[in-house]
């Protein structure tokens, strides 16, 4: 693509993503609300549609508070560092056969690599706040994100071996050619991916870095107003991005019956993943940090490795 359309695409995508995040938050609150015998937001606009808008507005016009003892520069920088990569990785997502920004050969690598940068933002935020809860939260966050990065990557390796490409679009074309979504041949990988994705996203039941009942609200305890909004935004954009990645590599991306456009199928599948995460949040208690680490290193990584071995054998055997 040329530069101008590229910038235009990014601008439009940013707007859409913001709207998507607002919708996702509303969706989450509604889903969890109904699961918990409530109706969820219902005051602002019909069906509470404007609730997130009101929330964001409130966050934006709040007083900007930087704690006196905080390390100012790092404190200010942290939310930005957390947010930027979350948006940047969306460049490789191919929303339909024709709607995409970058047809990168190393799409998967770019996606996973860049998303780890957010860890830095979490660490910076927790450290610079000069708050003990924030520090503990960020330490947990970093430990967890780094540990779960590994099974997440390893679980995708199976797909990459099968497809023989790191390009996200090629993965979808491959699924089209064999007429099978990859979560079936790669079921073990899919399960590992789903679990580590939840941990990677810091979502319940693995929301330890911001474990409310233990650490108040973890690494962003001292953040308020729009800086807090940035952290929240990063979190939800990641939820969208990880759903998008899952859709692409395991659920056949934009593939679906022809009577509706590919974008629709892509969004529908994404919504399914989002729903699963909300569902888990409403159902499960929080895991403990040492259990989580044990589970990651002793169960998920071996499973992911096993998946790679099996996939390689099949690949060689099938020629």
């Amino acid at each position: 693509m040329e530069l101008m359309p590229m910038v235009l695409y990014a601008g439009v995508l940013l707007q859409l993503i913001l709207a998507g995040v607002a919708a996702a938050i509303l969706f989450e609150r509604k889903v969890i609300g109904y699961m918990q015998l409530r109706t969820g937001p219902n005051r602002h606009g019909p069906w509470g549609i404007l609730q997130t808008v009101a929330d964001v507005l409130k966050l934006l016009i709040k007083e900007d508070i930087i704690p006196h003892a905080a390390d100012r520069k790092v404190f200010v920088l942290a939310p930005i560092i957390a947010f930027v990569p979350s948006f940047a990785i969306l460049a490789t997502v191919s929303w339909s056969e024709n709607l995409y920004a970058a047809d990168l050969n190393i799409g998967v690598l770019y996606f996973i690599g860049l998303s780890s940068v957010t860890t830095l933002g979490v660490l910076m935020g927790g450290w610079s706040s000069n708050n003990k809860y924030a520090l503990l939260g960020s330490m947990r966050g970093v430990a967890q994100m780094i540990s779960y990065e590994i099974p997440l990557v390893l679980s995708i390796v199976g797909v990459v071996i099968l497809v023989g490409s790191l390009n996200l679009r090629d993965i979808v074309f491959f699924q089209e050619s064999i007429g099978l979504w990859l979560f079936i041949p790669q079921f073990l990988g899919f399960v590992v991916y789903m679990i580590s994705a939840i941990a990677e996203l810091n979502r319940s039941p693995f929301d330890l870095p911001e474990a409310e009942s233990e650490l108040v609200s973890g690494y962003h305890t001292e953040y308020s107003g729009f800086r807090m909004a940035f952290f929240m935004l990063a979190e939800y954009v990641y939820a969208i991005a990880i759903s998008a990645l899952a859709t692409t590599i395991f659920f056949g991306g934009w593939l679906g019956p022809d009577f509706l456009p590919g974008e629709f199928w892509f969004l529908l599948k994404m919504c399914f993943f989002m729903f699963v995460w909300f569902w888990l949040r409403a159902t499960l208690p929080r895991a403990r940090v040492d259990h989580l680490m044990n589970f990651g290193w002793k169960v998920l990584i071996p499973l992911a490795l096993l998946n790679i071995v099996i996939t390689s054998i099949i690949k060689v055997w099938m020629g």
Partner: protein, 370 residues
């Protein structure tokens, strides 16, 4: 090269999401492991015992509501019962049943609330709302009979304040049925959950000897294998007329305390059902001496009376010098005693266990601080 981790002092509370009020816990942590813990209380101290000395006997009843505001009926009861014991009052039959009904319903409500908040501490949000839904049915029943949802001020020295309204007993029966069904759902939703079991089994172990020595009572004691329930071992009111079990467990961990409380809900519902069957259709609800509220003057003497509240043993040590006001009222609050053990129990635990252990003791700060 040797590495060295600096210890960090972490103040949990008085403002913290899971200290259930204004409890403060000063812990030192090495990484995430607690090396020492010191509970600091008194942020909610209202001087109840001092206030009692300046009030007429019956004027103090509403103050007892505010001790353990989740289980106010038993607080009402134990205070009234201690005065009655000094005066040697006979309580009318119907009043006794109304007392049992309200106390047991309140115990279920208290356990339900505990269940919800405990699961919230564990990071599960839905149980909280389910528990509140059911608790509300009970609060509606208690509201109908006493006119309040939390601070009932229902019991009087010598009986109770209000008779049951029309159809109340039938509605209680329906509520019992409803809750029994729902509790079963809760069991299937939470108790079998792997994450929950991994976090609660073997965590916060209290041995039998330790539990007794630290003066634990109620579910916390029974979860450590001591089969002791004042309702059974030293029946007060008319508890000897009902058929119910004392759930105990040997493990002494968080999970055992959880199971004991869930089992206790079933037992309380059993008592409520039996009381609904046995209660006489009509009759006096208060002894005639109790009707003249400001004229109550127990004879000189002192008594210690205890009862089984939802948190444990609640006791009143009452000294009377034949005046209108009590000479001394000492309130033995179960939460106050139960929370003491934390300083020993938390050592060596990770922070994540702190909330689980603290939650499993079921502490209400209104009661700790009196």
């Amino acid at each position: 090269m040797t590495t060295h981790t600096e210890e960090m002092t972490l103040n949990m509370g008085p403002q913290h999401p899971s200290t259930h009020g204004v409890f403060r816990l000063k812990v030192t942590v090495r990484g995430e492991t607690i090396t020492s813990a010191e509970p600091i209380i008194g942020y909610l101290h209202r001087g109840s015992e001092k206030l009692a000395e300046g009030l007429a006997y019956s004027q103090f009843i509403p103050y007892t509501d505010r001790l353990d505001y989740m289980n106010a009926m038993t607080n009402n009861y134990i205070y009234c019962a201690s005065v009655e014991e000094l005066m040697g009052l006979e309580i009318p039959e119907r009043a006794e049943y109304l007392r049992i009904l309200t106390m047991e319903l309140n115990r279920v409500a208290s356990h339900l609330l505990w269940w919800g908040t405990f699961m919230l501490d564990m990071g599960a949000i839905s149980p909280f709302l389910y528990a509140f839904r059911d608790r509300d049915h009970i609060l509606d029943r208690l509201n109908e009979i006493s006119g309040a949802r939390m601070t009932f001020n229902y019991m009087r020295i010598g009986g109770v304040k209000w008779d049951a309204p029309e159809g109340w007993i039938d509605r209680v029966k329906e509520t019992v049925e409803l809750i029994r069904e729902n509790i079963h759902d809760y069991d299937t939703l939470v108790t079998g959950n792997e994450i929950f079991q991994a976090r609660s089994k073997g965590v916060g172990y209290i041995s039998k000897e330790n539990a007794v020595n630290w003066g634990l009572s109620g579910p916390a004691l029974r979860a450590s294998g001591v089969k002791f329930d004042i309702r059974k071992d030293e029946p007060y009111s008319i508890y000897d007329r009902f058929d119910f079990d004392i759930p105990t467990r040997e493990e002494g961990d968080v999970f055992a305390r959880y199971k004991v409380r869930i089992a206790e809900i079933y037992e309380s519902l059993k008592i409520v059902e039996q009381a609904c069957e046995q209660i006489p259709d009509e009759g006096e609800i208060i002894h005639k001496k109790g009707k003249r509220l400001m004229m109550i003057k127990p004879p000189e003497g002192e008594v210690y009376k205890r009862a089984e509240a939802s948190k444990g043993e609640i006791g009143v040590y009452l000294v009377s010098n034949k005046k209108k006001e009590p000479y001394r009222v000492k309130l033995r609050r179960p939460s106050f005693v139960n929370v003491e053990i934390l300083e020993e129990l938390l050592i060596g635990q990770p922070i994540a266990n702190l909330v689980a252990i603290f939650g499993s003791l079921d502490v209400v700060l209104g009661e700790v601080d009196a």
